[in-house]
């Protein structure tokens, strides 16, 4: 394992993870929150209204980063699944268990904020548009992961089952996106485009990128915090956890 940096190797052990990761969580939370505030205030107050949608396009700055991240987290869960199956790393399993609920909530949030955006722009909250349908299916995939984790009592088996379902799901995600898109173009040729053929001006893009970066940072913090909680819960019998709870170390 020479090619693995020593700090990464250290994080693979629950005890070291628990101690080392604590300051990082705080920094990720602070950085993400500040970035989100900057990006959102910029997007809400300083960007001119969009030509076709007026002011309602400002929902883009929360909707798009969250929808983007929801997909990213699912792929990352599948990668953790591969890591778990190949190297049997305990932390990969902890990551999957922590990231699935976060991803599920973000997907739900992306769907609801999209519905709110749909009301003024499309005149209806729900359209059976390709992107919406694939996000909805992504939500069901996340839900399946969470439920599967809950119904298997043996932790080792649950982790392996979760890895396999996540990998199969992740292989399916692009195919689902593709098939839904293809199927939809068959039936409604007039698909709704976000900005038409107008290229997006840089003025609109800067706050979007700030928000995408910040929400990624914040979610990383949230997932790490959740992982830290799971580490404590799953290693309750270990002496270092008992020492922690007696306050001997942080």
């Amino acid at each position: 394992m020479k090619f693995v940096p020593s700090w990464l190797n250290r994080l693979a052990s629950p005890q070291h993870f628990f101690i080392d990761i604590k300051p990082w969580i705080m920094w990720l939370y602070v950085l993400g929150t500040i970035g989100l505030l900057v990006g959102s205030v910029w997007g809400l107050a300083f960007v001119p209204p969009e030509r076709y949608q007026g002011d309602s396009f400002r929902i883009l700055y929360v909707h798009a980063p969250i929808a983007h991240l929801a997909q990213l987290i699912y792929i990352s869960i599948a990668i953790a699944g591969v890591v778990h199956l190949v190297w049997k790393l305990k932390m990969a399993d902890v990551y999957m268990s922590a990231a699935a609920p976060v991803g599920c909530w973000l997907t739900a949030l992306a769907l609801v904020s999209g519905m709110i955006w749909g009301m003024p722009t499309w005149g209806t909250a729900w359209v059976w548009d390709a992107r919406i349908v694939s996000t909805l299916i992504l939500f069901f995939l996340y839900f399946g992961l969470i439920v599967l984790r809950r119904v298997i009592p043996n932790p080792a088996r649950a982790a392996t089952a979760l890895s396999i379902l996540a990998i199969v799901g992740a292989i399916n995600v692009p195919i689902i996106k593709f098939s839904v898109e293809w199927f939809n173009t068959l039936h409604q040729p007039a698909s709704i485009e976000l900005f038409g053929d107008v290229s997006i001006d840089r003025v609109f893009l800067v706050p979007l990128f700030i928000n995408i970066a910040s929400i990624s940072v914040l979610s990383a913090g949230i997932i790490l915090a959740y992982m830290r909680y799971l580490v404590v819960e799953r290693n309750a019998s270990m002496t270092w956890i008992q020492e922690w709870s007696r306050g001997k170390n942080q």
């Binding site: 709110i116 404590v232 922690w244």
Partner: protein, 50 residues
């Protein structure tokens, strides 16, 4: 200032989306810490019993 709130009649949609997002992110962000402190409390009680 008023313009920022109403946004040409789109304000209600824009602001409800932002408020909802803030609410969910706050809940998601604080949840692990609430669970962790409850867990610590429980361990502490167990330790006192022993």
């Amino acid at each position: 200032m008023m313009e920022l709130l109403t946004m040409d009649g789109h304000g209600i949609y824009v602001w409800s989306a932002y408020i909802l997002t803030t609410f969910v992110l706050l809940a998601l962000g604080s949840y692990p810490f609430i669970r962790l402190s409850r867990l610590k409390q429980r361990y502490d009680e167990d330790n006192e019993l022993n």
